[in-house]
């Protein structure tokens, strides 16, 4: 029972890291980026390639996954995304679906359609008993990293100069620009950071979630649930939503496997009917 809770928390933390980049682009920058999963997948595949082809340590792969996907995010933001900030949502949806399709086919072409496996370092494998709760070492590792990241993100967004500049740029880009804030630089940095977090999540999740070319579509719904249910006005909303989703999904799959993903979709639709702007939104949202 507690083990399930623990697994659920690990899963939820992972979802949060995967989705929080999306909650920034979608919530703060108001861009419907369905291609966020593609960045996560890229992070996962970078890890797979580095570990399995070049034998590089797992611990080096994580920052590499972050940096490379962040770079890719920055390049794409500069070249493509930037032009669509003011476009209707339909355009953004179509554009990012196109990106998803391209990434799926490209990965399929380069890496093949099979499930990718990675070999975790020995100290992260297995599980141990703690007060009668079976704790997977790797899951504990994921939880610790994600918790540190979540706290850091929250602090960065609320306490630092960059955080307040970002919030200003998002609330009213024109006024922020008038105040001498370099809005486009902030957007590209934020977008790159969000993509990088997605890549890091993909790298961390390669073992827990599985990795194959359909990753962006398979987990798209999870990311979107986290963001829409959590509301987009803060970091803590998606965080709680991700934890709830993780626990509910793991528990649901364990206790009532025949219902499958049914519960999650039903709960999401219900939440969206009752609270169209998310469970934890402050001011009705935009």
């Amino acid at each position: 029972m507690l083990t399930i809770l623990f697994d659920g928390i690990a899963y939820g933390m992972l979802l949060f890291i995967l989705a929080c980049g999306l909650s920034i682009t979608l919530g703060l920058m108001n861009f419907v980026n369905l291609a966020h999963g593609a960045f996560a997948m890229a992070g996962g595949y970078i890890t797979v390639i580095m570990m399995n082809r070049y034998g590089i340590s797992f611990y080096w792969c994580l920052p590499a996954a972050f940096l490379v996907t962040a770079l890719a995010g920055a390049v794409l933001e500069r070249t493509l995304y930037r032009h669509l900030y003011g476009s209707p949502h339909l355009d953004q949806v179509l554009f990012s679906i196109g990106l998803v399709f391209m990434s799926i086919a490209a990965i399929d072409y380069l890496m093949g359609g099979q499930q990718q496996l990675i070999n975790l370092p020995p100290e992260l494998r297995g599980r141990f008993e703690f007060l009668g709760v079976g704790i997977g070492r790797y899951r504990l590792f994921v939880i610790i990293i994600c918790a540190i990241l979540a706290v850091a993100l929250q602090l960065a967004l609320t306490r630092t100069r960059f955080g307040s500049q970002l919030r200003a740029a998002v609330d009213d880009g024109r006024v922020a620009r008038g105040l001498g804030i370099n809005v486009s630089l902030i957007f590209v940095a934020t977008f790159a950071f969000g993509s990088g977090l997605g890549g890091l999540g993909g790298a961390l999740g390669a073992d827990l979630l599985g990795l194959d070319p359909n990753f962006p579509l398979k987990f798209l719904i999870y990311f979107m649930i986290v963001v829409t249910v959590g509301g987009t006005s803060s970091i803590s909303g998606p965080f709680i939503a991700a934890l709830l989703l993780g626990i509910a999904d793991v528990a649901g799959k364990y206790y009532v496997p025949q219902l499958g993903a049914f519960i999650i979709y039903a709960v999401m639709i219900l939440v969206l009917i009752l609270r169209p702007h998310g469970l934890f939104s402050r001011e009705g949202g935009r």
Partner: protein, 347 residues
């Protein structure tokens, strides 16, 4: 049509009458579609596919192009229609037209029930709820394997001759004619709908729901109605797929189908009904061609096309509409040119 003599409504009625008039290119399009039966007898199957996709796209056009609702889950109605037609044929009546109407009715009821989900919230909420509904249905089909065959699909659907008279042949000729007739009927009905005062009020809602509400046009009821109608048509498209292939696979509910039909509308242009048909023709030919060149990876090129279209601008891609004689855009362009000329004369 309101026949009141009052000036503004008279003007509006005249406008609607003009919009409803049959254009030369529309008639030409249908003649070509019919002529295909004799010109390309060996390509009946792909033509049927085009007709079904066009029907689905037309139904999406009703809610996207006219009511302005962005849906990522239109395949839900398509799949529901496909499965209900399949099950209906398997367990009740095997006659296709009855099955078609039944599938349309089931899908319509479902559309009515879920239409209340798209009334509230922003584009994003709508995207998520429509997407969620489609995924939910796919999950139901997947889990009720005893009824729907699960991931293997529903096989053993027997289809008897249409109305007991026209048997489906091996080359798909009957199937194409049948699909084409349904497509025609749906387009005729849709034309009536969008060129009625009701259709005009939908366009007002699309432009600005708040202003429409202030003018006394209640958006909610109208959106519910059009959503239900679109669901009926989409369900019929699904039923056609089942009946012409005697098989239903969970693919009918897959996400990529919703995305495909959006792409079809984007290629053809939304908001004038025929965009779905032209888009379906282009899309299907394109996909066929791409999957011959790069089997398995045609998705890449579809994605690239989507991105290019968005980057170039959807309006620019579909600007050729204005070249069609008698289209609304063309009329506007002419009117603008006339106004310019008049201004020049006055100066």
């Amino acid at each position: 049509m309101s026949g009141e003599p009052a000036a503004p409504s008279g003007q509006a009625a005249a406008l609607l009458r003009r919009a409803e008039r049959w254009q030369l290119w529309e008639i030409a399009l249908w003649i070509i579609a019919v002529a295909m039966i004799f010109v390309m007898p060996s390509h009946m199957l792909i033509l049927t596919e085009i007709a079904i996709l066009a029907l689905l796209a037309v139904s999406l056009d009703l809610i996207l192009g006219y009511a302005g609702i962005v849906s990522l889950g239109h395949a839900a109605f398509f799949g529901l229609g496909a499965y209900s037609a399949g099950l209906f044929a398997k367990f009740a009546i095997t006659e296709p037209v009855t099955g078609l109407l039944f599938a349309g009715a089931v899908s319509g009821v479902f559309g009515l029930a879920t239409s209340f989900l798209v009334l509230r919230g922003s584009d994003l909420t709508r995207l998520m709820t429509t997407f969620g509904v489609a995924m939910l249905l796919a999950e139901v089909v997947n889990q009720t394997g005893w009824l729907t065959g699960g991931a293997d699909g529903l096989s053993g659907v027997t289809v008897t001759p249409i109305l007991g008279l026209f048997e489906f042949d091996l080359w798909g000729r009957t199937g194409y004619i049948y699909s084409l007739i349904v497509l025609m009927a749906v387009v005729f009905i849709s034309r009536r709908i969008v060129n009625s005062p009701y259709g005009l009020s939908l366009k007002a809602i699309k432009r600005n729901p708040t202003r429409a509400a202030m003018l006394g046009i209640s958006p909610n009821r109208r959106i519910v109605v059009i959503y239900t109608i679109a669901a009926v048509f989409a369900g019929m498209a699904g039923a056609l797929l089942t009946q012409t292939t005697s098989f239903v696979s969970p693919d009918a509910l897959a996400f990529h189908r919703s995305a495909d039909v959006l792409l079809v509308l984007v290629i053809g242009g939304a908001g004038y009904l025929y965009g779905g048909i032209l888009g379906a023709v282009i899309f299907t030919i394109l996909r066929d061609w791409l999957s011959v060149i790069t089997p398995q990876y045609w998705m890449f090129w579809i994605g690239l096309i989507l991105i290019v279209i968005v980057m170039v601008g959807r309006e620019r891609v579909t600007r050729w509409q204005a070249l069609l004689p008698g289209s609304a855009a063309n009329r506007e362009a002419k009117a603008r040119a006339a106004a310019l000329a008049a201004a020049r004369d006055a100066a």
